[in-house]
């Protein structure tokens, strides 16, 4: 008999990756929990039914006959209780079949079509690989592993659909759209015909909200996000795109009203675009950032000079510049942009947010931990319930774990859990408090 080897210690990199994965994965969603609860209930129901059936077998006479019938009934019921609770959504498939694991396999040259009982449809173009990941009372989760799929989701406020395409998740209520994912070139595309969808994934701000007629193409290898703004498909069938204007329409409340393109970051060089003809419009740094064009921002700064750029950029674009610089590891430029933000726009909300980001920059610079902590403390003092409060306290926790005493770290962990029990760092905080 061989003895299994001892569990080795992780290298610092793998340990950091594991910790990041543990900290940054959110708690299970309500649907995931409900699905798990349904699974448990189904198993318990099956178990109870079998016990009842056995009990009834012990009766005699006419009771025995009834018992046999009841037994037969429950046995039949138990046999048909599925692992997952009976879904209200059912579906039928044309042009293929479902394999284990929900894999959709086409069996013909026409592609596949899945029609759900409430009217929603899914069509896979020939060669597309997809999966039915879960189907519950609340909706369905479908993965497009490769290729293009067209969805027509019947609006229903009680249901929610998620479409996974590579690292992207499309959140849907009721809408019509095409989605494609090509893993070999890491290209995601979505064309929205009706309704509204949000796309989460490695895009600039984490989430995009699209309106009818818009198409988004994300090229991960080029760090590029392009949103093409056309007319809703139902109005433009057979017509060319209404415009080729590239837009970055992030999930901000004002974005849904299709605002005009803002002026350039550098007022002196701005041109007013004509909405009807602006094929090559001047774009703000915020837009460039949203499109993943970090290098364009940095190139423009180099072209006009850092000092000029910092002194002339708007508050919004200084923030975009700081982000672009951070993403490209130009931490000194990021720091300068954030400090300029605080100097030129001291009363703006971004000046407060800059405090947190300065802490992040200090961490990236590998400087003294106390400097980063000072920025986080200042942010938390000025914005105790601000948008970065959870992250600031979480970063304090991580830094403290590495540099401070256990007592101090435990105190921060307790504070974090009090304020953000479901926050990104809650797992780390609990682990710290569990440790002897």
């Amino acid at each position: 008999m061989t003895t299994p080897p001892r569990e080795p210690n992780l290298s610092p990199t793998l340990a950091a990756l594991t910790e990041l994965g543990r900290d940054r994965v959110t708690e299970a969603s309500r649907i995931e929990l409900d699905r798990g609860l349904g699974l448990l209930n189904a198993r318990l129901a099956a178990s109870r039914a079998q016990r009842r059936a056995l009990g009834r077998y012990s009766l005699v006479g006419t009771v025995a006959v009834v018992s046999i019938l009841v037994t037969a009934y429950f046995t039949s019921l138990a046999r048909h209780v599925p692992i997952t609770p009976p879904p209200q959504l059912t579906y039928r498939i044309e042009g293929g079949r479902v394999l284990d694991g929900g894999y959709l396999r086409e069996e013909g040259p026409e592609g596949m079509a899945v029609t759900f009982s409430e009217g929603s449809t899914l069509k896979l173009t020939p060669g597309t690989r997809g999966r039915l990941r879960s189907i519950t009372r609340e909706g369905a989760r479908i993965a497009v592993d490769r290729g293009t799929a067209s969805f027509r989701i019947t609006p229903n406020p009680a249901r929610h659909w998620w479409i996974e395409a590579g690292p992207f998740v499309v959140s849907v209520k009721g809408t019509v759209f095409d989605v494609s994912w090509e893993p070999s070139i890491e290209r995601f595309a979505l064309e929205l015909r009706e309704g509204i969808v949000s796309v989460a994934g490695p895009v600039s701000d984490g989430t995009l909200t699209l309106r009818p007629g818009q198409q988004v193409v994300v090229n991960l290898t080029r760090s590029e996000t392009i949103i093409t703004d056309g007319q809703p498909a139902k109005d433009t069938v057979g017509e060319p795109e209404a415009s080729e204007v590239r837009r970055a329409d992030l999930a901000l409340p004002s974005a849904t009203t299709a605002p005009p393109l803002p002026p350039s970051a550098l007022p002196g060089s701005a041109k007013t675009p004509s909405p009807a003809t602006s094929v090559t419009e001047v774009r703000s740094w915020t837009q460039e950032l949203a499109s993943g064009h970090w290098d364009r921002i940095l190139a423009e700064v180099n072209r006009v000079g850092i000092e000029t750029a910092l002194n002339r950029a708007s508050s919004e674009d200084l923030f975009a510049l700081a982000d672009a610089a951070r993403y490209r590891r130009q931490v000194d430029l990021a720091r300068d942009a954030l400090m300029t933000q605080r100097r030129r726009f001291p009363n703006s909300p971004r000046a407060t947010d800059a405090l947190f980001l300065l802490g992040r920059v200090e961490e990236s610079r590998g400087g003294a931990a106390t400097h980063a902590l000072a920025w986080y403390d200042e942010y938390l003092r000025r914005a105790p319930s601000g948008g970065f409060a959870a992250e600031a306290l979480g970063r304090k926790l991580i830094i403290s774990k590495e540099t401070h005493s256990t007592v101090q770290t435990r105190s921060i962990a307790e504070a974090y859990l009090r304020q953000f029990p479901k926050g990104s760092y809650a797992g780390t905080a609990r682990a710290i408090l569990r440790a002897p």
Binding site: E7, T18, L20, T26, S29, G36, R133
Partner: protein, 99 residues
């Protein structure tokens, strides 16, 4: 976690909009996807869900020896892949504030 199909990676949404972290997580998940389903699930349960070896064995209906071997296999492979990707190490070190 036991609600998940063991053949599919546990892929809940990420609660961060930090681009660097998202990029690192994406790379890490790609490495996890290269593991066998059993090794992957053992690694996630033991190292990311902080279960004990006994708990992992109970949930996966495996012997504890098998869990330990599977975990060591997963760790060996992950360490090898991480070592072969210096760019990943560099980014992780920057996120950790290591010069």
């Amino acid at each position: 976690l036991s609600f998940e199909d063991p053949d599919t990676l546990v892929d809940r949404s990420w609660s961060t909009t930090d681009v660097e972290s998202l990029d690192v997580l994406r790379r890490f998940y790609k490495l996890l996807e290269r593991l066998t389903p059993r090794d992957r699930l053992v690694f996630i349960l033991r190292r990311m869900q902080s279960m004990t070896v006994e708990e992992v064995a109970l949930h996966m209906q495996l012997s504890e020896s098998t869990v330990k071997r599977s975990l060591n296999h997963a760790l060996e492979r992950l360490e090898h892949w991480v070592a072969a990707d210096p760019e990943l190490t560099r980014i992780v070190n920057e996120l950790r504030g290591v010069p």
